[in-house]
């Protein structure tokens, strides 16, 4: 009798473990499907619907992470959650925060810390600053759209001076997020870290840097600004460029998108 009970418990544990792995695999597949359906070009898709589906997936993955017993599997769920929440945009703000916080804590507790799961730890640490950067990019795009609209009637139109604080703030935030992502990149020194992951992180740094330059350029499209009045901004931009190009080489924001590595 005793022997049968032990055998049952063992089988149950095995089934649950397999089920958890299957569940992780399934969520990853869903994430891939969602990405295929919604795509990177948000303009052509039903953005709200896509974001809701991403956020639903992110919440499921977070719940599964909290229910998983194996730390590495838990971390993988956190990674799926953070990634889905990133794609959910503003809807995923809370989830991305929770999944990255919990995942980051987990990475610290692993036997070899980040080196135990270098990719997932790196992605979890990156998810939040990338999500913030994506949000900043959306805010900047709103201003760019506004400027485009103004120029429909007057090609020489500029943004009203009242938009300048927002533009300058966006620049500062991009700079901050760039530095955060650069810090994560600086920790990817373990031999187990793939070169592809490093290249991927570098691409994200380039993207944030280019958004910062875009914000910088937009500042000159605000009424009343001059190179002199924006000299402090120029100084910060020059310093940012030095930091970026010291490790990334010269960055051409016009050709960088075409050179970015394909994410896997």
């Amino acid at each position: 009798m005793m022997r049968r009970r032990r055998l049952f418990c063992l089988l149950a544990a095995l089934v649950i473990g397999a089920c958890t792995a299957h569940r992780l695999n399934d969520l990853d597949a869903q994430l891939t499907d969602l990405d295929r359906q919604c795509g990177a070009d948000e303009q052509r898709r039903d953005v709200d619907s896509c974001r809701q589906r991403y956020e639903a997936l992110a919440e499921q993955a977070l719940a599964d992470a909290r229910g998983a017993s194996d730390p590495l599997t838990r971390l993988a769920f956190d990674r799926v959650s953070a990634t889905a929440a990133f794609h959910a945009g503003p809807l995923g703000a809370k989830t991305v925060s929770e999944s990255t916080n919990e995942g980051t804590q987990l990475c610290k507790e692993l036997p070899q810390q980040d080196a135990s799961a270098p990719r997932d730890c790196a992605l979890i640490r990156l998810a939040y600053p990338l999500a913030v950067s994506a949000d900043l990019a959306r805010s900047l795009t709103v201003l760019l759209t506004k400027l485009d609209a103004l120029r429909q009637t007057n090609p020489a139109a500029q943004l009203p001076a009242s938009d300048l604080p927002a533009v300058l703030s966006l620049y500062d935030w991009f700079q901050t997020e760039f530095d955060k992502v650069s810090w994560v990149r600086s920790k990817l020194t373990d031999p187990g870290v793939s070169e592809q992951l490093k290249a991927y992180v570098d691409d994200q740094r380039r993207a944030i840097y280019c958004w910062a330059l875009k914000a910088y350029s937009l500042a000159f499209d605000v009424e009343g600004t001059t190179p002199a009045s924006l000299s402090a901004l120029t100084t910060r931009k020059t310093a940012l460029r030095s930091r970026a190009e010291d490790s990334l080489g010269a960055i051409d924001c016009q050709t960088a998108p075409a050179l970015a590595v394909l994410p896997k």
Partner: protein
């Protein structure tokens, strides 16, 4: 069934399952996954320009007095939309700054950076889906022409290669080529592209022929600056005039640019360290030639060849006598160049054929060549030199016309062919240019000299002298006459012919009579070389005794007649050589004394033995 066996079976299964589950879990965790990815911003050229040119170390380029300030709108902090090509010009600069930095960061030479920038630029402009702006179009033109040449002349490109210098010179000044209608791809813009291609092709062609020339790229830059933009800007607004201007540029600019670049390549020192910049003159001259050709119509007066002969000769003057083209406040370089060609065209307009076209231009070119060699000493110091050059040719032509013009056809008639006639005129021009002040004070000396010689030539209907002989006689006549002013061809009051003209005319008449009397069949020698030498000897003798020649106009003819008779009477003992020997010995005395010396057998024998008349 043995339960133990079943339990062992289950254990085996669990073992397998556990391994599989662990492997599956690891697969699920580690498989390639979707990563969060940021999109890049829409980063247009203006963003790129601002990112580079507003940098504290680069902003000087678009600040006051900066080289690119004209393209920058300070109010919009972007390329000035009212300046065509501004976005491209600034983009070009930004790309160069970026690429050089990129090269530095990669440990490459800045040249490599520029190369990278060039590749990017061409790739962007060549493959761009949108309309290419003016700078882009110009750059593509440069690339096309350069590629065309480099295939056949690979050594043209490379470090310090002349072709690269020329392309660099043009590329550096590309923005200056952009006319104000470039944004709309207007007529000037289209014309500028065409002109650019013509200039570069011609320049490369010239440099390919001078692979070892040490060409200064600054000179090429200045040549380009001084030549092309003014030609583009001068494109008239009127459609018909535009067409004429285009035709002229198509026909003349290539050869002119070829000649100009060749001049720079062949005379590098001439363009160095001068107070006056000869490049300005080359540009002014090129534009003046095109303007002149356009004004009077291409091929109306000169063919392209005629215009280019003048142009090349004027280039020679720029190289050797640049001070002549040095502009002053009241007479800038451009005006000097214009006046030179306009005066030439005007002076040849009324000239008789064949001097009313290319042959006239040849003559003026000969005058310019003489000016280059001799300096302006033959000119009238009181008048602009460029008018004097045309006047020199005009005086020679006038002299020929007065003697050779057929009253009915108004064309020149002479035993000489047209090229020989030009050669004759050229010899007068060359000789005259060696004579100080020949044109000063409205002198007609040169015209009289030419007319006097031409009158004699015109009488030689029987061809007693070959054209070459006549050219020799004319050369001596010019030499002696110009060296001995107011003697040989000055018409005295009441006289119908100048002394030298009369002397030559009489000798020719005698030769004609001799021919009529049997000529060579009768043992006569007075034709061809003998006649030529007799004329030359007479001219030299008369030059030193003009009074005798004027006082005794028939004595030379008498002497010649007696010698003809003498030689004809003793064909076994005397011939042409003896005729000339005696004539040389006797003609001076004859002119001096007005009588023919005694030609006794003893005297003749003495002369032929190497002695002189006593």
């Amino acid at each position: 069934v043995d339960p133990t066996l079943i339990i062992f079976g289950i254990r085996a299964l669990v073992r397998l399952w556990r391994g599989g589950a662990q492997a599956y879990a690891q697969y699920a965790r580690d498989k390639a996954v979707l990563l969060p990815r940021l999109t890049f911003p829409p980063f247009d050229d203006v963003d790129f320009i601002r990112a580079e040119l507003l940098d504290p170390q680069q902003v000087w380029r678009i600040s006051a007095n900066g080289p690119l300030v004209e393209f920058w709108s300070t109010t919009l902090s972007r390329p000035d939309p009212n300046v065509p090509g501004s976005a491209e010009a600034l983009y070009l600069a930004a790309l160069q700054i970026f690429s050089e930095r990129a090269a530095r960061e990669s440990g490459l030479l800045p040249e490599r950076g520029r190369e990278v920038a060039g590749e990017k630029l061409i790739a962007q402009w060549a493959a761009g889906t949108g309309p290419v702006g003016p700078v882009g179009r110009f750059a593509l033109t440069l690339t096309d022409v350069a590629a065309e040449f480099v295939g056949a002349n690979p050594s043209l490109l490379g470090v310090d290669a002349n072709g690269e210098k020329l392309i660099g010179a043009v590329a550096t000044n590309l923005t200056q080529m952009i006319p104000d209608d470039a944004a709309d791809f207007g007529p000037k813009s289209q014309f500028a592209e065409r002109v650019l291609g013509i200039f570069l092709r011609a320049g490369l062609d010239a440099l390919a022929r001078h692979p070892d020339a040490l060409v200064n790229d600054q000179h090429l830059q200045q040549l380009m600056q001084n030549t092309l933009p003014p030609i583009v800007q001068a494109l008239p607004a009127d459609l018909a005039e535009q067409s004429a201007w285009r035709d002229v540029a198509e026909a003349l600019l290539g050869p002119a640019a070829n000649a100009a670049v060749e001049t720079i390549a062949a005379n590098p020192r001439a363009f160095l360290g001068r107070e006056f910049d000869p490049n300005n003159a080359v540009g002014a001259l090129t534009q003046a030639m095109l303007t002149q050709a356009s004004t009077m119509g291409l091929r109306e007066r000169f063919s392209e060849a005629g215009a280019l002969v003048l142009y090349r000769a004027a280039l020679g003057v720029i190289v050797d006598r640049p001070e002549l083209f040095a502009g002053q406040a009241d007479r800038p370089t451009a005006q000097i160049a214009r006046d030179l060609l306009a005066t030439t065209a005007a002076s040849l307009r009324d000239a008789p054929a064949p001097f009313d076209g290319d042959l006239g231009a040849d003559l003026v070119a000969a005058a310019l060549d003489s000016l280059r060699r001799e300096g302006p000493r033959f000119l009238d110091a009181a008048a602009p030199w460029e008018r004097g050059v045309a006047a020199l040719a005009a005086q020679v032509i006038d002299g020929l016309a007065s003697a050779l013009r057929d009253p009915q056809t108004q064309r020149l008639r002479s035993p000489l062919s047209q090229p020989q006639l030009v050669e004759l005129a050229r010899s007068f021009v060359v000789q005259a240019a060696q004579t100080p002040g020949i044109l000063a004070g409205n002198r007609s000396e040169l015209t009289a000299l030419v007319a006097g010689v031409a009158q004699v030539i015109a009488r030689d209907q029987a061809g007693l002298l070959s054209p070459t002989d006549w050219l020799d006689v004319a050369a001596v006549a010019a030499q002696e006459s110009l060296a001995n002013p107011q003697r040989l061809f000055a018409l005295a009051a009441g006289a119908t012919a100048a002394p030298a003209t009369a002397l030559l005319r009489d000798l020719l008449a005698l030769a004609a009579a001799e021919t009529g009397a049997g000529g060579r069949d009768a043992g006569g020698v007075f034709f061809g070389a003998t006649l030529r030498e007799a004329m030359i000897v007479t001219l030299r003798a008369a030059a030193g005794n003009a009074a005798g020649a004027a006082a005794h106009p028939d004595v030379v003819k008498t002497l010649a007649q007696q010698l003809c008779d003498l030689v004809r009477a003793q064909p076994g003992r005397m011939g042409s050589k003896e005729w000339l020997c005696i004539f040389r010995s006797a003609v001076g005395q004859a002119l001096d004394q007005g009588t023919v010396p005694e030609l006794s057998d003893a005297h003749v024998a003495q002369i032929l033995a190497g002695g002189h008349l006593g």
